[in-house]
């Protein structure tokens, strides 16, 4: 899974968003390090729609620009995102074992 796909799935994890909002969400979460371009975003959205990981919402907020389309993550998308997160976590664990990363400091929650 490409980083872009992962970031987009993350952005949609807890809210329905339209394209521009996804770009903003990703940029905000990564402090501007990952900035999706419009064309990349929509190309990825098309793949995700084709794969059934997200779907387009029929309804939208009334006051909104009618051109905007909202997207929602599906169960399949959520599962794929989780699997990728697992894989990343395992990778991080391996890196830690080799001391490429500092030991994870458990924060009390």
């Amino acid at each position: 899974m490409s980083p872009q796909v992962f970031h987009i799935l993350l952005a949609l994890a807890d809210q329905d968003l339209h394209g521009y909002a996804i770009i903003q969400d990703v940029a905000a979460r990564t402090a501007g390090n990952v900035r999706l371009t419009a064309s990349t975003l929509y190309a990825v959205l098309k793949r995700l729609l084709d794969d059934g990981w997200i779907r387009e919402l029929a309804a939208r907020p009334d006051a909104d620009d009618p051109r905007r389309r909202y997207y929602r993550i599906t169960a399949a998308g959520r599962a794929a995102g989780r699997a990728e997160a697992e894989r990343l976590a395992q990778l991080a664990e391996m890196a830690r074992a080799k001391r490429w990363l500092p030991k994870a400091r458990r924060t009390r929650s």
């Binding site: 490409s2 339209h18 394209g19 521009y20 770009i23 900035r35 371009t37 419009a38 064309s39 990349t40 975003l41 929509y42 190309a43 959205l45 098309k46 729609l49 387009e56 620009d65 051109r67 905007r68 389309r69």
Partner: protein, 881 residues
């Protein structure tokens, strides 16, 4: 400005993304564009222009990468993105080269786009009217076979009887004097049938256009004004509807304003009033209406044409002699709008700018080739490290495409500017206003296609050259003296010959036009413009109905003007020579073999002192003077051509001419004038037959005053006094078109000057580019052969030997290009032959001059690098090895 740029970019983005709708979620195109716009807004808010440019760069590269990538599952971030990034870096590393190439391309592509948009609008695009293909123009056909404007009575008959049209409307140009304090202002006006605006499909921006009731004989005068006049005089105040416009002699109420930026803002008229004819008033004797119609559903142009022909026959029969030989016909509106000569003009310009762009491309190809040679080592290292040849080729090809794309992007701005400049420079009336509209999406597509083509044109040759170069030799020799460089030397030579040949075509064409133009300016016009100042007076129909009072007015004005100190002569005439207005008149000459036959000649109405004021001369008899009053016997003056053609060798003075019309008028010939170039300096050696009648005996409301002083400066100083004299007689009369007669001669050559100067400008540009190219190619070639030159000199060759050899080599190539270009020029010159005056398309002297001119420039361009090569110290060169 920045908002405009963002809007333009948004439009481009929309178009480009629409090309690949299969790559976005279905129906998301608008959403995508909206997102792009939002990103632009963000970028501008964050960092202004810098932010916007950065945004364009990121989005552009990403979009291009996406579009160029073949949709393959396993290539998430295809090679092309890398290519693009590499290309970008390489170009940024050599800013001089990049700037030069981008500037050349932006200029070339920009001007091409502008001219394309004119060609497109003129020849391919729909007219800016509703359902334009159903619009036709109906014209009468003069007995001579020429299409002619329409007589009002005939128009009224057509309107009543023709079945082929859903609407028929007429239009007549007029000029009104607007009085609103201060000096009266002359407004160009059109009187149109009340159905005119509905027929072309234009509704008012404010208020309304005409309704049938406005055309009633007793209806109060209603006026529709242009958006231009609304902005200029009424500050776009919507309350203008209902206000009164006071014209000299009548008042109209404004009922509506035409839409902004419509075709009506690009024609001259500022005021439209209804064209109303009481059937009794309408004449069949003068033909002056322009008639447009809309075909009824299902009717073809041929059917309409057939109906109009039989209708005209019927009308003619009913009216006896007056219309004998006349007919009527129907043409698609577009055919008449696009005259054959405007088509030729735009095609020639399109060809010329195309050639300039080609020379530019060849030039850039030369530069790119040199750059490739300089980077041979880099390329060789890449290949040695495992990059495939295809990969190397692609990297370099992408580099040129990136350059071309940037050039095209800037070219759009250049194009917008060039089109505006072109529109203001092209002589009025040469091209229809519709053709000079703004750049649109079609021009945009053209630019993009041009960018890709030019990119391939100047980019692939060097890229291919680089990709096929031997790795080992390049690495071993440090990029010199290898077989690869021999190959590129050959390529360089081909490029040099090509660009000289291309430039030669333009230079030869320009040389022909220049010499033809010079010959035209030396033509003797048959009159002396020196010291003559002219102005136009139009007596308003409302106060001088049917010319009554006009002779008294002009007599009074001329008498006052002749009393002004410094005035030598003063006269008034319907139309000055070269003035562009010619009226035809039917006549027959008594006592000749053809006395029963009606012929047609131009007619001018003149007051006394006409011949003296304009410095013309008489061959026989006397000129018309102020004693030829309404009560004196009717007189007429003719020109030599008239006498030769209709009277023959016998004396003409004393014979009688019968002027046709509602009532026949018999006039006695009192004098024969020498021929004058009436229509234009390029008139055939045989002038057209002309008659001059006394204004007092045949009054006309619109006359041009001509006043002769010692010289042009003295004549200009007279103007305030002359205006005062006119306003002393009639304070409400606007004085239009004040100017010097010598300027009028210049104006009459405007079109020729335009053709000549614009082709010459392109030729100079192409020649200059070619010389830069020759210089660059020869420098490069000699640089590569430094070692050879050093060895030769070490072995005893003198500087002179080296100079002769190297200049000779360059000159041989230039001569080759000149010969090819000359051949092409002779073939292509036929296209501009109709523009040439007394000059043959294959005029050997001019072609030789063009060859010498470009050849000299080429010699200089190859001599400069040769001299540098000859001044090298052989020791230094060889030691550097």
């Amino acid at each position: 400005m920045i908002a405009g740029a963002a809007r333009l970019a948004g439009a481009i983005f929309r178009r480009v993304t629409a090309l690949a709708s299969d790559r976005w979620p279905p129906g998301a195109a608008a959403d995508l564009a909206e997102t792009f716009d939002a990103l632009q807004r963000d970028a501008i808010a964050r960092a202004g222009w810098r932010g916007l440019l950065a945004c364009w760069y990121r989005e552009g590269v990403s979009l291009l990468a996406l579009l160029l990538r073949t949709p393959r599952k396993a290539a998430p971030m295809g090679f092309l993105a890398h290519d693009l990034r590499d290309a970008w870096r390489a170009l940024v590393r050599t800013p001089g080269y990049t700037l030069l190439v981008v500037a050349t391309l932006a200029l070339g592509i920009g001007v091409n786009t502008a001219i394309f948009s004119v060609v497109d609008a003129l020849l391919f695009k729909a007219l800016p009217y509703a359902d334009p293909d159903r619009l036709v123009r109906i014209t009468e056909i003069h007995p001579s076979g020429n299409r002619n404007t329409v007589a009002p009575a005939n128009f009224l008959d057509w309107q009543r009887m023709a079945r082929s049209f859903s609407a028929i409307a007429a239009r007549q140009n007029a000029s009104f004097a607007l009085l609103d304090g201060g000096d009266p202002i002359e407004l160009i006006a059109s009187r149109v049938s009340v159905g005119y605006f509905d027929m072309v499909g234009t509704s008012a921006a404010v208020g309304r256009t005409f309704q049938p009731a406005d055309g009633d004989l007793n209806a109060p005068c209603a006026a529709v004004i242009s958006n231009r006049l609304w902005s200029r005089r009424f500050a776009r105040d919507p309350a203008v509807v209902g206000t009164a416009l006071h014209f000299s002699g009548f008042t109209c109420t404004v009922i509506g304003v035409l839409p902004e930026a419509s075709v009506f803002d690009r024609v001259l008229s500022d005021v439209y009033t209804p064209l109303i004819y009481a059937p009794a008033e309408a004449t069949r004797l003068s033909h002056f209406l322009g008639v447009t119609a809309r075909l009824a559903p299902g009717v073809t142009v041929e059917q309409a044409r057939a109906e109009m022909k039989s209708l005209a026959d019927r009308i003619n029969k009913a009216n006896g002699e007056v219309l004998r030989g006349w007919s009527a016909t129907v043409d698609p509106f577009r055919d008449l709008m696009v005259r054959a000569d405007s088509k030729r003009l735009v095609w020639v310009l399109f060809g010329a700018v195309g050639l300039v762009l080609l020379v530019g491309c060849v030039n850039i190809a030369g530069l790119a080739l040199s750059r490739t040679i300089a980077r041979q080592r880099e390329v060789a290292v890449r290949v040695a490290l495992g990059a495939g040849r295809w990969r190397v080729f692609r990297a370099l090809a992408v580099e040129s495409l990136v350059l071309a794309t940037i050039g095209a992007g800037l070219g759009l701005f250049v194009g917008q500017w060039a089109l505006a400049a072109f529109a203001s420079y092209v002589p009025p009336g040469t091209l229809p206003a519709e053709a000079l509209a703004s750049l649109d999406s079609r021009a945009l597509m053209f630019t993009m296609a041009l960018a890709i083509m030019t990119g391939l044109l100047f980019g692939t040759v060097p890229a291919w050259q680089a990709a096929r170069g031997g790795v080992n030799t390049a690495l071993r020799s440090g990029g010199r003296g290898s077989s690869g460089s021999r190959m590129s030397a050959r390529l360089h030579s081909v490029l040099l010959v090509t660009e000289v040949a291309l430039a030669m075509v333009l230079v030869a064409g320009a040389a022909l036009l220049v010499v033809s133009f010079l010959r035209l300016t030396r033509v003797d016009p048959g009159f002396n413009p020196n010291g003559v100042v002219t102005m136009r007076l139009s007596l308003p129909q409302a106060r001088y109905k049917d010319g009554i009072g006009a002779p008294a007015f002009y007599n009074d004005v001329l008498a006052r003007i002749r009393r002004i100190p410094g005035v030598e002569h003063a006269t008034a005439v319907t139309s000055l020579p070269l003035g562009g207005w010619l009226y035809g008149q039917q006549f027959r000459v008594e006592g000749t073999a053809t006395e029963k036959v009606w012929n047609s000649a131009h007619i001018q109405h003149v007051t006394g002192e006409y011949v003296a004021t304009l410095g013309m001369s008489l061959r026989e008899g006397r000129a018309i003077d102020d004693t030829d009053t309404a009560t004196a016997p009717g007189v007429v003056m003719i020109n030599e051509t008239f006498a030769r053609r209709f009277i023959g060798d016998q004396p003409a003075a004393g014979r009688t001419i019968v002027i046709g019309g509602a009532t026949e008028t018999r006039l006695q010939i009192v004098g024969v004038m020498r021929d004058v170039k009436t229509g234009g300096l390029g008139d055939a050696p045989l002038a057209t037959p002309e008659m001059y009648v006394s204004h007092q005996q045949a009054p006309m409301p619109i006359l041009v005053l001509a006043i002769k002083a010692r010289d042009d400066a003295a004549a200009t100083r007279l103007l305030p006094d002359v205006r005062a004299a006119i306003h002393a007689v009639d304070p409400e009369l606007p004085v239009g078109n004040q100017g010097l007669m010598s300027d009028l001669i210049g104006t009459s050559l405007t079109l020729q000057r335009f053709q000549t100067s614009i082709v010459s400008a392109f030729a100079v540009l192409a020649g200059l580019l070619a010389c830069i190219g020759v210089y660059a190619v020869r420098s490069q070639a000699l640089h590569a052969r430094q070692r050879e030159v050093g060895i030769r000199m070490a072995l005893g060759a003198t500087r002179r030997d080296v100079l002769t050899m190297t200049v000779g080599q360059g000159l041989k190539l230039v001569a080759c290009g000149l010969a090819i270009g000359l051949g092409a020029a002779v073939l292509l010159a036929r296209v501009i032959e109709p523009w040439l005056f007394n000059t043959r398309a294959a005029d050997p002297a001019m072609l030789a001059a063009a060859t010498v001119a470009l050849g000299t420039a080429g010699l200089l361009a190859s001599w400069l690098p040769a001299r540098r090569a000859a001044q090298l110290d052989p020791l230094t060169t060889l030691r550097a090895e």
